[in-house]
């Protein structure tokens, strides 16, 4: 069987073996939890409690504020301590709710009967998803309720469940599929009922063959599902590349998946949807892979708002001196300026690097090897685009498609001359969009 894939891409060492076999471990919450008001695209949520109020696990502590916004729920029993400015994993200091943790925690959420679930109407399901604060768990953190409201003019043909997890090191989705396959599939079923697609695909990369088999073993329970094994390649998990690999349809430039009648949802999100609908449990904890240069690379079930520092300690600390902490995978993740940044809904992993891994490489002149050209999944010409940006010709860069760049980092990864291509495109993109506004 030939594996499905897209054109371009890179083959970094996957490094998943470090944490692959670490089962999802429920951890003791830290003493304090910091819930950033902004951990989804859209307007930050608004706190709803008075300072000093007691909160229960799963209780709403902040509400959605307008379009593209969702609420926040306390992951612990504790005391609401007001808001503070705290380092955000996506950069800068952001306002966060501080909760002092009361150590007596128990999960009051129980699964409901299946028959009941199938009677819930579509709009109500969407409302449940919204009320429970669910956002895309793959990293983008786009509010899921909004994404599920597909315009009626667009008929969804293919629903793709993204279990690709192509970033090296990360294994949180993998563990979820291994341990919670039925729950994930139940979540998929809900999405399926909301958007009513012709086909449902469960997409998994070939380096996670065991997860693929496990998921496939549920097919007697979920006969509508198709299972697609994809070639191991970065960025196979990117929405547009995934749709291309599975359906052969290309999302038009500047367009969205539903323009080609496709809809992509991450497995983590499917699991969160399951929990919200079946257990009535809001999104307040998630699986986070803590890996890289630490003693015991692990997958933890982490309360949202747990400081990175705390999680690194739970792995029995780093080997050598920490020089870099990355929120997310090493290719698209963001380097932290503070070790005290806390887990947000979009944090799929934390990668710790030491001095030797972060040796800064000086850029040298481009030798036109075209490695970037060959690997660009968006089929751009990074080397030429970069030269135009260097000469401040943004118009030309735009014409060459810089706005299509999804900052996957493949070109920078592949460049033998260490030219910071991705960074330049990021800057160029923001300058171009600023100009338009």
């Amino acid at each position: 069987m030939s594996l499905l894939t897209f054109k371009g891409g890179i083959h970094p060492t996957c490094c998943k073996e470090f944490s692959k076999d670490s089962k999802i471990k429920i951890i003791e919450p830290p003493d304090f939890i910091y819930l950033y008001l902004s951990q989804h695209t859209g307007i930050p949520s608004k706190p709803v409690l008075e300072k000093g109020a007691e909160v229960e696990i799963g209780q709403k502590v902040a509400k959605a504020a307008g379009k593209l916004s969702v609420g926040l729920h306390s992951p612990v029993n504790g005391t609401y301590m007001g808001t503070v400015m705290y380092p955000h994993p996506l950069g800068g200091m952001k306002e966060a709710i501080r909760i002092q943790v009361n150590k007596e925690n128990s999960t009051p959420f129980k699964e409901k009967e299946r028959a009941k679930i199938s009677n819930i109407p579509k709009q109500k399901l969407i409302n449940i998803i919204k009320d429970n604060g669910i956002v895309g768990m793959g990293g983008a953190a786009f509010p899921t309720y909004f994404k599920l409201q597909v315009p009626s003019s667009k008929k969804i043909k293919d629903l793709i469940i993204n279990g690709v997890e192509c970033e090296p090191f990360l294994t949180s989705d993998y563990r979820l599929m291994m341990e919670k396959c039925e729950e994930v599939m139940k979540g998929v079923d809900i999405v399926r009922r909301i958007i009513n697609p012709e086909n449902v695909w469960i997409a998994i990369e070939a380096n996670k063959l065991d997860a693929f088999e496990v998921m496939k073993s549920t097919s007697s329970l979920f006969p509508w599902a198709n299972f697609a094994l994809l070639k191991t390649k970065y960025p196979q998990g990117s929405e547009k590349q995934l749709i291309d690999a599975i359906t052969g349809r290309k999302v038009p430039e500047g367009g969205l998946p539903f323009d080609v009648n496709a809809y992509v949802q991450n497995v983590g999100t499917a699991f969160a949807i399951y929990e919200a609908v079946y257990l009535g449990k809001p999104l307040f904890e998630r699986v986070v892979t803590v890996t890289g240069n630490v003693r015991h690379q692990s997958n933890f079930l982490v309360p949202i708002g747990t400081p990175f520092e705390y999680l690194i300690k739970l792995t029995e600390g780093p080997i050598g001196k920490i020089s870099k902490i990355i929120n997310g995978g090493p290719l698209m993740g963001i380097a932290q300026s503070q070790i005290s940044s806390c887990v947000v809904k979009g944090t799929s992993g934390i990668v710790v690097q030491n001095e030797t891994e972060t040796l800064k490489k000086e850029p040298s002149p481009c030798i036109r090897c075209a490695a970037c050209v060959d690997c660009c999944p968006m089929n751009l010409l990074p080397t030429e685009m970069y030269k135009h940006i260097e000469m401040n010709r943004l118009e030309k860069a735009k014409e060459m498609g810089v706005l299509s760049c999804m900052e996957c980092g493949s070109c920078s990864y592949a460049c033998p001359a260490n030219i910071p291509l991705t960074q330049q495109f990021k800057i160029a993109k923001s300058r171009i969009t600023k100009k338009v506004n």
């Binding site: 002149p365 030269k387 260097e390 000469m391």
Partner: protein
């Protein structure tokens, strides 16, 4: 037929008017910073060169020779070219505004393009007949177009190259021309055509 083909090959590649004969260097270096303008220039040159060659050929054969006024040829030719360019400019402006806006600014420059005059002279010196002359002019023009498009695309690529300061601009363009000429030497001796 063979003869015409040889003239074409010779004028187009082997004896490329710019790289091997040093003619038309002003526009070659002056108008080759951008490829689009360079291409327009090249096309204008082909156009004017062919017309000029035809007209001067007729003048030479049917007026200057019979009247024994060959010594006036320099004066006559340059006047013909200058007025031809003027005339074309007016004509385009009126009749073909689209073409005018594309070639407009290049037409006056062509007057002082020695390639045009040079080709007209070479045409007479080589004793070409009318057909050969036209082929010669067109292929010389094509040679000019090829060379100017190539050098402009190369110069565009070198725009952000860390060329040593004193060599930036014209000097490096001359080096490119030299190396292009070096590569064009590969065509020398083609079908027995010599430099």
């Amino acid at each position: 037929m063979d003869n015409v083909f040889l003239i074409f090959l010779s004028a187009f590649l082997v004896n490329n008017i710019i790289l091997m004969k040093f003619l038309g260097l002003c526009p070659f270096f002056g108008v080759s910073r951008r490829m689009e303008t360079a291409a327009s220039m090249g096309i204008s040159v082909i156009f004017v060169m062919t017309l000029a060659t035809v007209i001067t050929w007729f003048l030479y054969q049917f007026i200057l020779i019979p009247l024994n006024l060959i010594y006036l040829r320099t004066v006559v030719f340059i006047l013909v070219i200058a007025s031809l360019v003027q005339f074309l400019e007016l004509f385009f402006k009126k009749q073909l505004p689209a073409l005018y806006s594309a070639l407009g600014i290049f037409l006056p420059l062509i007057t002082t393009n020695c390639a045009i005059l040079g080709v007209a002279f070479l045409n007479i010196d080589n004793n070409f007949n009318l057909i050969s002359g036209i082929v010669f002019a067109i292929s010389s023009g094509l040679g000019f177009l090829l060379a100017i498009v190539l050098i402009s695309s190369i110069r565009e690529r070198l725009e952000n190259a860390p060329i040593p300061e004193p060599l930036k601009g014209l000097p490096i363009s001359f080096v490119i021309a030299a190396l292009m000429g070096l590569a064009f030497l590969g065509f020398s001796g083609f079908l027995g055509l010599s430099l």
